[in-house]
């Protein structure tokens, strides 16, 4: 007994007990992958589209109207009209006569109408001597399915079934004139950020910055070397401006200060820069006024309003304030921050001259922004709204010009007469895909695509697709290559083969794309956390040994001497939800800068926070998640999980599995398989495949015939492929269950035997029966002129016996309706294989035209030449169909087949 007790004491004092030491983690977080379904529950698979549209409808559209809220008249100075609010309603039926205004997306698909909601503005305007407030409908906006304005959002499966809508349908697309249209995600280089590049062939180093402001103005400013000297280049200035002159024009007159702001105290930079100072002196530019005169004489002036010619320095001042680097704010002609921005660009060029590693990588995902439906629609709306307002102004002027009026002028009536400029503008843009906005110098074709409904996966795959703005013909491999920074945010497998390889990408499962977050509060917060204002500093402080520059969305706001502490405090506040979880912060040690980003289009993903070598998420949290007492949002609120954008990822040390956590670990991956996208996630055991097989499978999985949606039998699409007996896969991945592929499967579980078979590849050509003219047969037509449901249609059969007036183009009114001559224009069945009438629909479109849709079905069996594939990119063409008795069999009598 005594001995035993001693033993027990001894055991307690051991450093190792039952194989565990005191420092070992207590227990691992089981099922932490359940955060993924929780994430998808709040966000859904196409959350980026929907979030972006919601942001446009709720926030952006109001900002746009606020920026263009006044309509005045040139004729009557007392008249004004002001927009005080704008709201987008819920989709309704755009017909005067209809009693039930409720509309469902499926009705729009069937009736070839547009699923759109009215845009209502609240206006205040002068009517005589009074100010009147009214609500006016100015047009209709196509509504994204499952967005906050869609009737499907938040509905139960039962309610959706009543609306003939599939609960598994991801939404995120529009229904315009009956077709489903997707606005693909566009990939672009980030705006308002300095990108340094070199051209080794020409020996040019340049820093460029594309400015984009909310006014919609976009311009690119370069600071580039030319023959060893540095110049500022901009489209609105004819000639390259020596950098010193540009800086002098921006208010930094002393050469000493210029040198301090650009080269600082680094000797190498000073030597490289000194020639530029000399250059300015040679050109006789010493003062700010001289610099402005120099630039002013080179500014492109496009003056529409005739007026007195302004002096050159004034032109230069305006150009520098509003056009060059337009995103850097100039308040009351205080050019300080803009001067520092130009100086920083110059310094970056100097750094790159000194060390060629200091250039930026354009292909780095952190330097990219994704443009979504919301942003594109916002641009379109701004353009249409401005045109609408100028049309309105002209119409008002026209009325006000008339010297005498019978009644008091009411702008409300003029507004109502404005027609459907906005409605037709939206419909035209979305249905053609042409975004040609002259106002913003935008000319883009192929922005929208018809949602591919060949299979459920093809529709889903389309919603996660990203198209690149780069040309496909350019023979550079950089943009096509797999970027290490793609990890976790863009699928490494899912890209097409051939010309678009690597340019078209797909989002990974947990990727989120940010929307704009207001930056003023963030800047205020940064100052509160001890950042010193940039306009109070000189080069000595900026490039001091311990100072880090603080940037917000690419604009320099100040300095900090304790970057790590500042960043840690900033993150702490974010985890406490004091501001948006999508604001990112990171330190760039090369540039000695802290970058805060709150702009939209950044790609980010959630990760579990690790503190003191332990995951913040514990098994208890997961238990609560399983019980349903916690949602993904609670994890964010409690600071257990946070979003990381690609830049912030560089500041982290993310453990892939829990047992990989060390003391320096900052985050833990939620689940490794989320690095794949929705389509690649369907491949079972992808890590056992050769990597291109996964890529092939991503392209091929979309072609599988199966179930498309729960409403597949209620759809009348031009082409619809359905499988009579689809089977859910026996080998499932977690992704399969998450995307619902087991509920809408494609393909069958086949028994496969691999064996050699000697024989010949022989294909007999089926003789085509072409008599030249096939006489039209009206056998299956019923009394209403339409074929009966269930009837067989053979080639040449008429299924809609339609007549059209022979003078349809002739609009002259003859008086007698009965005498209008009609000619027969029957619809005949053209396919060589006979089919059956599946469905006949009669309805009318928005402009009261009768529409008849006839769905013809062909039931097909697998035949020679049909393509079959496994789920691993292994495809083949059927070359022989073997009779049951000729099939090989094993001891148990099992045959290949299914």
């Amino acid at each position: 007994m005594v001995e035993d007790e001693d033993n027990e004491w001894g055991q307690l004092n051991l450093t190792n007990w039952k194989g565990l030491s005191a420092t070992d983690p207590i227990k691992s977080v089981e099922d932490k992958w359940l955060l993924l379904p929780a994430f998808l529950k709040v966000k859904g698979l196409v959350k980026q589209h929907i979030d972006s549209f919601n942001y446009f409808v709720d926030v952006d559209i109001k900002n746009i109207v606020k920026a263009n809220n006044k309509v005045t008249s040139d004729v009557d100075p007392r008249f004004w009209l002001k927009y005080t609010d704008i709201n987008v309603g819920f989709p309704d039926r755009n017909e005067e006569s209809s009693v039930d205004k409720k509309v469902t997306p499926n009705e729009c698909r069937l009736r070839d109408t547009t699923y759109s909601a009215p845009i209502i503005v609240t206006i205040q305007y002068t009517r005589g001597k009074n100010i009147v407030q009214r609500n006016v409908n100015i047009g209709r906006l196509p509504i994204m399915l499952r967005s906050c304005k869609c009737v499907l959002t938040g509905r139960s499966e039962e309610q959706l079934a009543r609306m003939i809508e599939c609960p598994l349908d991801p939404g995120g697309y529009f229904v315009v004139k009956g077709t489903e249209k997707v606005i693909l995600v566009q990939e672009q280089l980030s705006k308002n950020r300095i990108i340094v590049e070199t051209d080794s062939a020409k020996g040019v180093v340049q820093a460029s910055c594309t400015s984009s402001t909310h006014g919609g103005l976009k311009s690119k400013t370069y600071v580039a070397t030319k023959k060893g000297k540095i110049y500022l280049r901009h489209n609105s200035i004819h000639e390259d401006i020596p950098i010193v002159i540009a800086l002098k024009a921006l208010g930094i007159q002393s050469d000493k200060e210029i040198l301090l702001l650009t080269a600082g105290n680094t000797d190498a930079y000073k030597t490289a820069f000194s020639a530029n100072l000399e250059d300015a002196a040679k050109l006789g530019v010493f003062t700010r006024h001289q610099a402005l005169e120099y630039i002013g004489s080179r500014v492109k002036v496009n003056r529409r309003v005739m007026g007195p010619r302004r002096p050159a320095w004034e032109e230069a001042l305006e150009a520098l304030a509003t056009i060059v680097l337009a995103h850097v704010p100039v308040k009351g002609l205080d050019f300080r921050s803009k001067a520092i921005f130009v100086a920083t660009m110059t310094r970056r060029v100097l750094m790159a001259i000194d060390d060629e590693h200091m250039v930026d990588d354009r292909d780095y995902v952190g330097n990219k922004r994704l443009e979504l439906a919301g942003q594109l629609l916002a641009l379109l709306f701004e353009d249409l709204f401005k045109t609408y307002n100028s049309n309105l102004k002209n119409a008002i002027d026209k009325v006000l010009k008339k010297p005498s009026r019978t009644s008091e002028f009411d702008a409300f009536n003029t507004m109502r007469m404005q027609g459907d400029h906005l409605t037709s503008g939206f419909v035209r843009a979305i249905s053609t895909g042409n975004w040609s906005l002259k106002r913003f110098k935008m000319e883009r074709a192929g922005v929208t695509h018809v949602l591919s409904r060949l299979s459920f996966i093809s529709a889903l795959g389309m919603m996660t697709r990203i198209s690149s703005q780069f040309e496909k013909t350019r023979k550079v491999s950089g943009p096509r290559a797999l970027q290490p920074s793609q990890w976790g945010v863009l699928c490494p497998s899912d890209t097409p083969e051939g010309e678009a390889c690597g340019l078209v990408k797909n989002l990974a499962l947990m990727t989120h794309i940010t929307t704009d977050v207001e930056e003023e509060p963030i800047i205020r917060l940064a100052f509160m956390l001890g950042v010193e204002d940039i306009s109070l500093t000189t080069g000595t402080e900026i490039y001091g040994p311990h100072t880090f520059v603080v940037n917000v969305n690419g604009t320099i706001i100040g300095l900090t001497r304790y970057p790590t502490r500042f960043v840690a405090q900033f993150r702490k506040l974010r985890r406490a939800r004091r501001f948006s979880e999508f604001v990112s912060i990171y330190i760039n040690h090369h540039h000695r800068a802290v970058h805060i980003a709150s702009d939209g289009g950044r790609i980010c993903r959630p990760a579990i926070i690790v503190e003191n070598g332990r995951s913040r998420v514990t098994s208890e949290h997961i238990q609560q998640l399983k019980k349903g007492t916690m949602t993904f949002d609670d994890f964010l609120k409690k600071g257990l999980v946070e979003y990381l954008d690609v830049n912030e990822e560089n500041d982290t040390y993310i453990a892939l599995y829990e047992n990989d956590i060390v003391l320096t670990t900052t985050h833990l991956e939620i689940e490794p398989f989320t690095l794949l996208g929705a389509v690649a996630g369907l491949i079972p055991y992808p890590h056992h495949n050769q990597s291109p097989r996964n890529t092939y499978q991503c392209a091929m999985g979309k072609q599988a015939i199966g179930a498309i949606a729960y409403n597949q039998l209620n759809r009348i699409d031009t082409l619809l492929y359905l499988s009579v007996y689809p089977q859910q896969p026996m080998v499932k991945t977690k992704t399969i269950e998450l995307v619902g592929y087991d509920k809408l499967p494609a393909g069958q579980n086949a028994t496969v035997a691999v064996m050699s078979y000697s024989g010949f590849d022989r294909l007999a050509d089926a003789p085509l029966d072409e008599n030249g003219q096939i006489s039209k047969k009206y056998d299956i037509i019923q009394l209403d002129g339409l074929a009966g449901v269930g009837e067989r249609v053979d080639p040449g059969d008429v299924y809609v016996n339609k007549q059209t007036p022979s003078n349809a183009a002739d609009n002259t009114f003859t008086g007698q309706a009965a005498s209008v001559p009609y000619k027969n224009t029957p619809l005949t069945y053209k396919s060589p294989v006979s089919g059956n009438i599946d469905k006949v629909m009669i309805s009318d479109t928005e402009n009261d035209q009768t529409i008849v849709k006839v769905l013809i079905r062909q039931t097909r069996r697998p035949e020679l030449g049909d393509k079959f594939s496994s789920r691993h990119g292994q495809k083949g063409v059927c070359g022989l169909i073997v009779n049951q008795e000729d099939m090989p069999f094993n001891d148990q009598g099992i045959n290949p087949g299914n």
């Binding site: 059956n836 039931t859 008795e885 001891d891």
Partner: protein, 356 residues
């Protein structure tokens, strides 16, 4: 069986990486310098057919002493050429269910019927339907709400009347002399519980169907068997005594019941008829301690048939039916061969092979 020494010529050798003596010779069972001419008496002596297991739907039997070509011919004939009765033509009067006509008709065609094919004649494509070659079936099912459904129920069978179309809904309408011929066994599906379609209130299926006689060659639905396959009898020969401490390990290398261990002497031997239970997995050949202590093989002319009947035939009737079909085929060949011989003798020149 395996206790008797076996003619090594009858064995197919199964080794770790390969299978030896697989192919049959040009003249199966013939060896140079020996007389193997066909002899009815000897064939009768060697041929053994024995039923091992018989149930309502399946049969297992052995055929010993024939060449694989003969055994395979029986298997193929059972699958493809023994006739059966199936629904072939479907006339749709109404179908408002979700399942489309073509698919539903195909499903009706696959329903096995209990009609003895010998009672019917084959119908060629141009033949008119008669009471000798066609059976008429009807299905007329309408789904309705059940007014007496318990509140809150979600079970379709409580909520609706006729929520499913079953094979038992197929009713036979006799024509001509059929009522007499099929008096003791009215034509109907063999299984009344096959779900063919699901209906919801307001949906109706009304079909008339014609069943005809056909063979599996034309369509798999006419195949009277669900499966007909055979395997060769496994042969296990223990060539070296297995050390007692490895006995259990050796036993586990085979399927259960194949190897027996004498509880007293720990001697390892093949359990009487145990070899037939083996799957010839070759597991034993993977262990180095058992090298050269066992030889695996299969008996070339010992066929273990397994046939599942899914038609009007009793399982034990399938082989005789197959033999019947084969005899008919042989009769045709014989007739053709005789015609050929006659032709050659009368014309007195070389035999010219032409179509019969």
């Amino acid at each position: 069986m395996s206790s008797q020494p076996l003619d090594p010529r009858r064995l197919v050798g199964v080794h770790a990486e390969r299978v030896t003596d697989v192919s049959s010779r040009d003249f199966p069972g013939h060896y140079p310098g020996e007389d193997h001419s066909w002899n009815l008496q000897r064939f009768k002596k060697n041929l053994k057919v024995k039923v091992q297991r018989l149930s309502n739907h399946s049969i297992e039997f052995d055929i010993v002493g024939v060449d694989a070509s003969i055994a395979n011919a029986f298997r193929r004939i059972m699958i493809a050429e023994v006739p059966a009765i199936c629904i072939e033509h479907v006339f749709a009067f109404n179908n408002t269910s979700v399942i489309v006509d073509e698919v539903l008709a195909h499903r009706f065609g696959l329903v096995p019927l209990n009609v003895d094919p010998s009672l019917m004649e084959m119908r060629s494509p141009d033949d008119p339907p008669t009471d000798r070659n066609t059976l008429v079936f009807e299905v007329d099912v309408t789904c309705e709400r059940n007014p007496k459904a318990p509140k809150g129920s979600t079970d379709p069978y409580e909520l609706y009347i006729n929520p499913e179309v079953l094979s038992s809904h197929i009713t036979w309408s006799p024509a001509g002399e059929q009522a007499e011929v099929f008096a003791d066994n009215a034509p109907a599906p063999t299984n009344p519980n096959i779900v063919l379609a699901k209906l919801r209130p307001g949906q109706q299926i009304h079909y008339q169907m014609h069943a005809v006689k056909g063979v599996g060659k034309d369509h798999a639905k006419f195949s009277p068997v669900a499966t007909a396959s055979y395997r060769l009898l496994p042969h296990i020969k223990i060539t070296k005594p297995i050390p007692p401490h490895l006995a259990e390990k050796f036993q586990k290398c085979f399927s259960p019941g194949v190897i027996k261990i004498n509880p007293r002497t720990r001697e390892v031997s093949v359990d009487g008829n145990g070899a037939r239970k083996d799957t010839v997995s070759r597991e034993v050949l993977r262990h180095p301690e058992f090298t050269d202590s066992v030889e695996l093989g299969r008996v070339r002319d010992y066929f273990l048939f397994n046939v599942e009947s899914e038609s009007a035939y009793r399982p034990e009737r399938l082989l005789p039916e197959a033999i019947k079909v084969m005899r008919e085929k042989l009769a045709i060949i014989k007739q053709a061969a005789e015609a050929l011989r006659e032709k050659s003798t009368t014309m007195d020149n070389d035999v010219v092979m032409t179509d019969v």
